[in-house]
Each structure stands twice: as C-alpha cells, then as structure tokens.
C-alpha cells in the first residue's frame, strides 16, 4: 500500500462529498471554459462584423493640392493632381500578402457637378461595395441597380426637391432617383451617388479614382503590415489606417474580454473558497483519522501528501468534467448568442482546464492539509 492509496480509498468512501466537490469545482471550470470560449467566438464574430462596418483604411492619391473635403478626410483634387488612383489600383489591393484580411474595397470618384442647376459633390461608387461598407445607410426608395440610377444624400434631395422616381440631369445625362438616404449626419447627406463607371464616363475621368476606402478584418490582424503591403503595391498613393476607428474597435473587444476574464476569476475564486471551506471542515471531521496516521508513524509531509493527493484526483476529475460541461454549455449557448463558429475549445483549452482545476483544487487544499499535519496525535485521538 502506498500513501496515495489512502487518499484514493478516502475519496471512494466519501463518494457524495467527493462528487460534490468535484462537481462544484467542475462547474467553475465549465463556466470559465464556456466564458472564455464563447467570448473568444463572440469577439471573433463581433470583430468581423465591426470590421465590415465602415472603412478602416483610406487610400488617396499622392498630391500636394488639397481641394475637397470628404467627411473630415482631406481629398487631393483628383482632377488636378499629378498622381492619380485608378480602378487597376483597387484591383491591386487584392494581391497583397494579407489579402485574406481584406473584407471590402470601395473605390470612389468624387467631383463637383451641376445637378438640377445646383452645385453638389457627385460620387461615383460601386453601389454593392458601398452598401456593404455603410451598413448604417437607410433610404427611401430602392437600392440603385441600373447604370443611370442615382442615390441622393438627404440634404441634396432636399435642396433639389427630389424624391425617388424623379429624374435629374448631370452633364446632360439623365438619371432616375432610385433612393434618397435618410439623414446620416455625415458628409453623405451632401453627396449624390451614381455608378462609378458612369461617373468616370460622364466626367471623362476614364478609370481614375479619387480615393479607395478599404475595410480590413483587423481584430488581431497586423493593420500596419496591411498598410505597408498596400503602400508597396500603390507607390503613387497615400495609404493610411484610420487609427481611431481601429483602436475604438479594439477597445470594445478588450472590454468584452476583460468582462469575461473578471467573471471567470470571480467564479473560480468562489469555487476555491468552496473547496477551502469544505476541506477545512473535512479536516475537522478527520481529526481522529489524522491522529491515527500520526500515531502509526506518518510524518507531517505524509499527512499533507494524503490530503493533496485527494485534491489532485478530485481536481483532475473536475478539470475533465468542467471542460466537457463547458464545451456542451457553449454549444448549447451558441445558437442563442448567434455565434457562427465556436472557438477556443481545442487541446490547449482542455489542458488549461486541467491546470486551472488542479491549481485551484490543490491551492485550496494546501492550508487545510498543512493544518491537519500540525495536529497533535493526542489531541486528534482524544482517547489518550
């Protein structure tokens, strides 16, 4: 018989208590595993959605002259600058090494034009890309699909007195108002949007562009690296990351992560406290038995070993139970939380569960074990 047999036999005998402690710690581990996994999955999904929500990289032609302003972004005058962006440049972005991180490329040609006798900014855009990028756009009418459809910003529509179904002329070309944007509070309110190829044609800009907006999936992706790779592909352009956008997204992600970490720590601490209290009361119940161990020659370290072995076995059980329960719990919660892909349930999560359970279980048992080892045999046996 070895010392660990003594611990094993005690666990066998006190099945209910053993099961209770194992399940208690296991539930804490399960909550931790599920929270971490779900948060990770949620973060990933959420980040993907956030990254698709508006641009986080803007590409402008390299030029000295700043002539137009678009939403706080200073635009060089594409029509007047020496360097220009072209539709080919937009295609080149897809060839960078990190192209997998590129979600949407939205090229624009911006120019001033007379619409219905009033000067407005006309933007030639790829409607599909733009609507994907600006998911907050709401409009009256229908999404433009025909080459001669026009989408009016709310201020432009108001100024022109136009509504969906009306027709307008730009450079003698007739356009039908497909939709009017609801007020966005941004520069988009003051812009008339037409199809990019049509804009390039009627303004004689061939395949020129004023800017390219890019949405990169940048949660934990190397944004600086993407900017550098894009810059390398487009030497005549200024590629810049909208740091504020990226950082605020990362901030949201990190807050989510911190919340889940704090919750996990609280649950695990509660489990540790439960084990500590149970172990302490168990030591009280086992005084006599510990007295017997000491009387027959067990050293203090042997008593500690017996108790720690018990907690290791329980913790291992709790780790396995916790991982399995956490995984099933997360799977059950997945559809409710609208998570597409569960993440964070691999072998490393399993090993983390075991290590977490062992750390909590053994740490919580150490003081009770130490206390037990300090019991005087006579005090423990009482009969003497």
């Amino acid at each position: 018989m070895k010392l660990y047999h003594v611990g094993l036999k005690n666990l066998e005998r006190r099945k209910f208590r053993t099961a209770l402690l194992t399940v208690g710690l296991g539930i804490a581990v399960a909550i931790e595993v599920a929270l971490v996994g779900l948060t990770k999955s949620l973060e990933s999904d959420f980040a993907k959605k956030l990254d698709e929500y508006g641009a986080n990289i803007v590409i402008l032609p390299k030029a000295n002259e700043l002539s137009l302003d678009y939403g706080g972004i200073a635009l060089s005058g594409v029509s007047f600058g020496t360097n220009t962006l072209t539709t080919d440049d937009a295609v080149k972005i897809k060839t960078i090494k990190n192209s997998g991180n590129i979600s949407t490329i939205a090229p624009q040609l911006l120019t001033e034009a007379s619409v219905g006798g009033k000067k407005v900014i006309v933007a030639g855009i790829d409607f599909n890309a733009e609507f994907r990028l600006k998911r907050w756009w709401r409009y009256a009418g229908s999404q433009p699909v025909q080459p001669n459809d026009i989408l009016l910003g709310s201020s432009v529509a108001k100024a022109l007195g136009s509504k969906p179904g009306d027709t307008l002329k730009i450079n003698s070309v007739k356009f039908e108002v497909a939709a009017v944007l609801n007020e966005t509070g941004s520069q988009d309110d003051r812009v008339a949007f037409i199809s990019l190829p049509v804009a390039q044609k009627i303004f004689g800009s061939k395949n020129e562009l004023s800017l390219i907006e890019v949405s990169a999936l940048c949660y934990n992706c190397p944004i600086d690296e993407i900017v550098r790779q894009t810059q390398d592909k487009l030497p005549n352009a200024n590629v810049s990351a909208l740091r504020q956008t990226i950082e605020s997204r990362m901030d949201v992600m990190h807050r989510l992560q911190h919340f889940s970490e704090i919750l996990s720590v609280a649950v695990v601490l509660f489990a540790a406290l439960m084990i500590f209290v149970t172990m302490m009361s168990s030591i009280g119940e086992r005084e006599k038995e510990i007295g017997i161990f000491r009387a027959v020659g067990f050293k203090r370290k042997h008593v500690i070993l017996v108790i720690v072995v018990e907690s290791i076995i329980m913790s291992l059980g709790a780790g396995i139970f916790g991982y399995a329960t956490g995984l099933f719990g997360a799977m059950a919660a997945q559809p409710l939380m609208g998570i597409q892909h569960l993440q964070g349930f691999g072998i490393s999560a399993f090993l983390t569960s075991l290590v977490l359970a062992m750390t909590v279980g053994v740490t919580a048992a150490l003081y009770p074990a130490y206390k037990a080892s300090r019991l005087e045999p006579t005090a423990a046996l009482r009969a003497l």
């Binding site: 003594v6 006599k288 007295g291 027959v296 020659g297 203090r300 042997h302 003497l384």
Partner: protein, 253 residues
C-alpha cells in the same frame, strides 16, 4: 541500559487560567521483555504517561529515552520515524481507519516506507493469520465485531515489529471472554520477548503481567518491580487459536 527510561517527566495541561498537573516528576525504567500493567483511577495520569512514553505527547519537562535515544530531542519528523520503527500502539477504541479494509489497516504503518506492496501484503497476511482473522482481510472495520477489530489493531501494532507495544485499555470495549483472549495474546507476545506497557483499570489483569505500576495524582505510588515472565520464549500456542477459541465461546464469528 533500559529499553525505556523515563526520567523526571512532568506534564501540565493549561486550560484557560487553570493548570492541571497530569504527571509530576515521574521516573521509571522498563527493561526489554517486561510486561507492565499501568493502573490507577481515572485522571491519575496513566494515559498521559503512556502517550508520553509512546512519543505522542511532549512532556512539560523530563526525558524519555528509548533504546538509548532521547525521543523528544528528535527534530522534525524523526519522532514520527521513531514511533513507526520502535513503537506499536493498541487503543481502547481500536482506532482503525474506517475506509480501509482489514488488510489495508494492518499495512497502514508501512505505507510511508519504501517496502514493496507485495512484501507489505505478505507481512500483513502473516500477522492476520497469527491473530486469526485472515479470512476477513477484505472486510471494513465497521463489518467486524469489537474483538475482531482489536485483533486487527494488534496486527497493525505489530507490523513494524516494534521494540515496545503500548496498549491503552485494550480490553476496555470488549466483553470478558474476548478480553481474556486479548490478554492471553499479550502474554504470548510477551513470551516472545515483546515488551508491553499496558494501561488498564482491571486489577484482574495484573496476573498476566510481569510488573505493575500504579499511578495516583500524577505520580507513581506503587511499582511491584520485575517478576518472572509468564511465558517463556518458544511458546507454541498459536495466537489465532487463542482468540478464536475466545470468540467461539463468545458467539462471535
């Protein structure tokens, strides 16, 4: 040199402001092969004396020397080693570990040693056969009668072949017939030169011993000195037969 030399041992318990003098300047020498009964009224200090002699209870003053080693001068876990190697305990309440079966209870003192499981099992089975309870090695203590539990406790006390066997009221929870059998077992062990120090209330058991010591108010008030051994070395009566016969008379199985 005496096997057990107790020199000027005193023990005072402090409970709140009250000091209780359990032992007062007790000195006694026990020689190898003696069977000593320790008697006295409740509270006379005999159990404290036994626990101090067995390394379970540190005296307030004085020395306890076993086989030339001053026990309470030992540092750290050396005292535990000494208890395991030199002393076997038999308690009135048997003090078996309830979740270990009979065989495991007997092997318990060997668990911290490096002895192989095979050798531990063999040694435990030999002793269980000697105390006549081999067939119950898989039973838990709760499934045994008092006499059977005490047999297991005696086997456990003997597993390390200790120099001295300390018994605290070993018959206190047993009926007369089983008690007699246990006493015969002690006598037989003593016949094999095992030194025994036994606390008892029952004056009838004096006759089994080779020496009596009586305590009163924490002091030895009577020491009969050594008598001839009750059994001589080479006694052939099997221990198990003796207790088994007692159990049969008592209707236990």
């Amino acid at each position: 040199m005496s096997l057990l030399d107790i020199r000027n041992v005193s023990k005072t318990y402090h409970i709140g402001q009250t000091a209780t003098h359990a032992l007062r300047d007790v000195s006694v020498q026990i020689e190898e092969g003696e069977f000593v009964t320790v008697m006295g009224a409740s509270g006379s200090g005999k159990s404290t004396f036994l626990s101090i002699a067995g390394g379970l209870n540190t005296p307030s003053s004085g020395e306890v020397v076993i086989d030339g080693i001053e026990m309470y001068n030992l540092r750290g876990d050396k005292l535990s080693d000494m208890r395991r190697e030199y002393i076997g305990f038999v308690f009135q309440s048997f003090h078996l570990v309830p979740y270990l079966n009979v065989l495991e209870n007997v092997m318990l003192p060997l668990a911290p040693t490096g002895l192989s499981s095979k050798k531990q099992t063999a040694a435990a089975r030999t002793l269980l056969a000697e105390v006549g309870i081999a067939e119950k090695e898989k039973n838990l203590p709760g499934e045994l009668s008092g006499g059977e539990q005490q047999r297991v406790a005696i086997a456990r006390a003997l597993i390390n072949d200790p120099l001295i066997l300390l018994a605290d009221e070993p018959t206190g929870n047993l009926d007369t017939v089983t008690s007699e059998a246990v006493m015969n077992l002690f006598t037989l062990l003593n016949g094999q030169r095992k030194t025994i120090l036994m606390v008892t209330h029952n004056p009838a058991y004096r006759s089994y011993s080779t020496r009596e010591i009586e305590f009163r108010d924490g002091m030895i008030v009577k020491d009969s000195g050594a008598r001839a051994f009750a059994f001589q070395t080479g006694e052939t009566v099997a221990i198990g037969d003796m207790i088994g016969q007692a159990d049969e008379r008592n209707g236990e199985s």
